[in-house]
């Protein structure tokens, strides 16, 4: 079995401040971890993933995420938030190369000017 928790429904930050969107997971074996973003009235887009290697993963639009095996976390971060980062963010986990991913419930990020 696999599961993902995004403990915050909403995250509010001021433009220019660092942002963190939290994700913890549970999976047997080695996880594949993903972040996706959904901008208003648009489909989900892939942001970044962790498969193996460096624990710090860099992705699109200046986002990065840190894989922490001991804490089973994969938090999404950005050093300086933009208003245009406001969107719905989903974390997902997968156990194998093929097959289904399990998504979290999503976190709405609002960046205020």
């Amino acid at each position: 079995a696999q599961s993902v928790a995004q403990p915050e429904d909403q995250v509010n930050v001021a433009e220019g401040n660092p942002l963190t969107v939290k994700c913890t997971y549970s999976v047997s074996g080695n996880p594949y971890l993903f972040w996706y973003v959904q901008y208003p009235n648009r489909g989900l887009q892939f942001l970044l993933k962790y498969i193996t290697g460096d624990n710090l993963v860099k992705g699109s639009y200046g986002f990065e995420a840190e894989f922490n095996k001991s804490q089973t976390s994969f938090h999404l971060k950005k050093p300086s938030a933009l208003v245009s980062d406001s969107a719905l963010y989903f974390c997902a986990v997968k156990r194998t190369n093929a097959g289904k991913s399990t998504f979290g419930d999503g976190t709405t990020l609002t960046v205020k000017p």
């Binding site: 489909g43 190369n97 289904k100």
Partner: protein, 120 residues
């Protein structure tokens, strides 16, 4: 770029109707998925398919069926639509890696724009 298209952006149907949602991807992906997205519930997997004519139930398959006769096309069927199936439906596809590519470039999913289905 990978492109995943869905037959309709908006659809309104009546209770009891049979509903077909079509999804087509153009990148020769092995895996295809159908999700529904509801506020506060995230994405929930309905069905997925590893290959042509293969299908597996996801987390919420009740009331749905699927068809994959061609690699690029994955259809979701609501046999008898009900009001609790009013939702946003998202199709996705992904590439399966093998050998040295396993876990490499092909695991992320590419999503279509979604179909907002309303059942009256």
């Amino acid at each position: 770029d990978v492109k995943v298209t869905q037959s309709s952006r908006y659809l309104v149907k009546r209770t009891g109707e049979k509903v077909f949602l079509e999804c087509v991807q153009d990148m020769d992906h092995e895996n295809m998925f159908w999700y529904r997205q509801d506020p506060g519930l995230g994405l929930r997997l309905i069905y997925f398919s590893y290959d042509v004519k293969m299908k597996e139930k996801g987390d919420i398959p009740e009331g749905y069926s699927v068809s994959r006769e061609k690699k690029e096309r994955f259809s979701l069927i609501l046999e008898s639509a009900s009001t609790n199936q009013t939702s946003m439906y998202l199709c996705a596809s992904s590439k399966s890696g093998t050998g040295k590519l396993a876990g490499g470039l092909y695991n992320e999913q590419f999503f279509g724009p979604g179909t907002r289905l309303t059942v009256l």
